[in-house]
């Protein structure tokens, strides 16, 4: 079953000067990991940020449709706050707030009006799901900035989980991390897909091959090919996909 479908999705930057995404039609299945790959500037991050309407923060214009459970999130009556609550995001650089571990995780539930007495439980559950609880359970009041990059990134995942999303978008979540932290995050992703729909942008093709169920290959703002990861990597249909995957460019 598809969680998200895009129809003729176009994104323009800089008052229309840059055509960042061109007529992208893509389906993202529920409870799977979908990887978006392609060389720098190919539009994969723009596509990711189109899914929770983060592009418009930088003044981008979007046409076409993004259907989440069949509802167009770009329709005029869509509530962006509710959308972003439903579609969480984890960024390239770990970006915990300069607050304690606890406050970081409690931030989202708080702004959505969660009652004070529920917070302890939500914080613990989120940290457990992000495989961080055992490392921080006795250091909840310490500033998040004192932890390692890998721990910070798992904290950011816990922070995203705390508002109870259905989809989580990952924008190159491991590119700033060492191999061991990367392995932990990848392991976490495969656990999380039981409950959530995951979309991950990655520069690292091995990573896409390791963790994802489906893969979309972007080039110059176009979606060249998408399908089951095994098929994309073993029998790509498009010459350009094959060239990219075999390392001829990118």
């Amino acid at each position: 079953m598809n969680k998200i479908e895009t129809k003729a999705l176009n994104v323009y930057y800089g008052n229309g000067a840059v055509h960042g995404l061109k007529n992208v039609e893509m389906s993202i299945p529920a409870n799977k990991i979908t990887a978006l790959i392609g060389p720098s500037g190919c539009g994969k991050t723009t596509f990711l940020r189109a899914l929770n309407r983060m592009n418009e923060l930088k003044g981008a214009e979007t046409t076409g449709e993004v259907l989440l459970d069949g509802r167009n999130i770009y329709s005029a009556k869509e509530d962006v706050i509710q959308l972003r609550k439903k579609v969480g995001m984890v960024f390239q650089q770990p970006n915990p707030f300069p607050m304690s571990i606890y406050e970081n995780v409690a931030y989202g539930p708080r702004i959505h009006g969660q009652r004070h007495e529920n917070l302890d439980k939500i914080v613990e559950e989120s940290l457990r799901k992000a495989a961080l609880w055992d490392e921080v359970s006795d250091r909840l009041e310490e500033s998040a900035l004192g932890f390692s990059g890998g721990q910070q990134q798992r904290l950011c995942i816990a922070r995203a989980l705390a508002v109870n999303p259905e989809i989580i978008l990952f924008d190159e979540p491991c590119s700033a991390l060492d191999p061991i932290s990367t392995a932990r995050i990848e392991e976490l992703l495969t656990e999380l897909k039981q409950e959530y729909t995951l979309v991950i942008v990655t520069h690292n093709m091995q990573q896409a091959a390791r963790v994802s169920d489906f893969t979309g290959f972007f080039l110059m703002g176009e979606l060249i090919e998408c399908g089951r990861t095994a098929k994309i990597f073993e029998r790509p249909e498009d010459k350009r996909t094959e060239d990219y995957i075999t390392g001829r460019y990118g």
Partner: protein, 282 residues
């Protein structure tokens, strides 16, 4: 090349030492000349016959003026800074407004004092009063608090804002919780600089708040109020005895100590806050 490098380093070091020495001499001179005047009576009594008694009303007056000044300048300054940094579109108009705001900071204080006198004291009938003086001081330091707060808000990493918005926070929630919390140390520094200007300001206070010789404590904010800088000015220009000058230095010493004390408290608050945020790693 190595010799040239060393020469440059040495001369830079020398320049720094000269500047510091100059500062040190000024402070040492004030301390040496003023310490004799300081006594418990000097700090806690009211002045009488111009050159006798203490400077208690002046100390309290200066503190009250700064308090009113901050009550004006901090909320207005921070609010304007939030608008300029977070909401104002980057157009020719906002750039001009920002530029004129900065020029405003450069207007001599006597001119701002004159404005306070004509507009607040006469036109609004506030009279020569603590309120008129404090308000004028507030308007005087406003450009600095706006500027410093705006810089502090702009220095907050964009990634904090994105993280907050991606969690479904509104822009206002993001600013109130994440942005202001991170900008707080920088804002404190800006307020402190403005406060330093305000507590030492003479011209504005002379024109709007009182003659500085008041021997009574103000009973309301509409009473005239004495202040340390104006008192020092009066003693220095109208005193005829060596006692007057010594009292002027004594009052200067108190003024400096007052400012240092406020600064230290603010810096301690700021550093404790920075530690809470993450060991100063920003």
């Amino acid at each position: 090349m190595a010799l040239k490098e060393r020469l440059v380093t040495a001369s830079l070091c020398f320049t720094a030492l000269v500047s510091l020495l100059f500062l040190f001499v000024v402070v040492a001179y004030i301390v040496a000349n003023g310490i004799g005047a300081i006594s418990l009576d000097f700090l806690l009594e009211s002045p009488y016959r111009f050159e006798q008694g203490g400077i208690f009303p002046q100390i309290i007056g200066s503190l009250c003026l700064v308090l009113i000044c901050l009550l004006v300048a901090v909320p207005l300054g921070v609010a304007s800074a939030i608008y300029l940094a977070e909401y104002a579109p980057d157009t020719l108009i906002t750039r001009s407004v920002r530029f004129f705001g900065e020029c405003l900071a450069g207007i001599p204080s006597i001119v701002k004092g004159l404005f306070g006198l004509v507009f607040l004291v006469y036109y609004l009938h506030l009279g020569i009063s603590m309120l008129a003086g404090g308000l004028t001081l507030g308007f005087m330091i406003l450009p600095w608090t706006v500027r410093a707060s705006e810089e502090a808000i702009k220095a907050v990493p964009q990634s904090y804002r994105e993280a907050s918005l991606a969690l479904g926070a509104t822009k206002l929630q993001t600013i109130r919780t994440v942005v202001l919390k991170s900008a707080y140390p920088g804002i404190i520094t800006g307020i402190l600089l403005g406060m330093g200007k305000a507590i030492g300001e003479t011209a504005v206070v002379l024109l709007t708040a009182g003659s500085g010789l008041e021997s009574f404590l103000p009973r309301s904010i509409l009473d005239p109020v004495g202040s340390l800088p104006v008192y020092i000015y009066m003693l220095a220009t109208q005193g005829h005895t060596s006692a007057a000058l010594s009292r002027a230095f004594g009052a200067s010493l108190v003024l400096i100590a007052l400012f240092l004390a406020i600064s230290v408290v603010a810096l301690v608050l700021r550093n404790r806050y920075l530690r809470q945020m993450g060991g100063g790693r920003r």
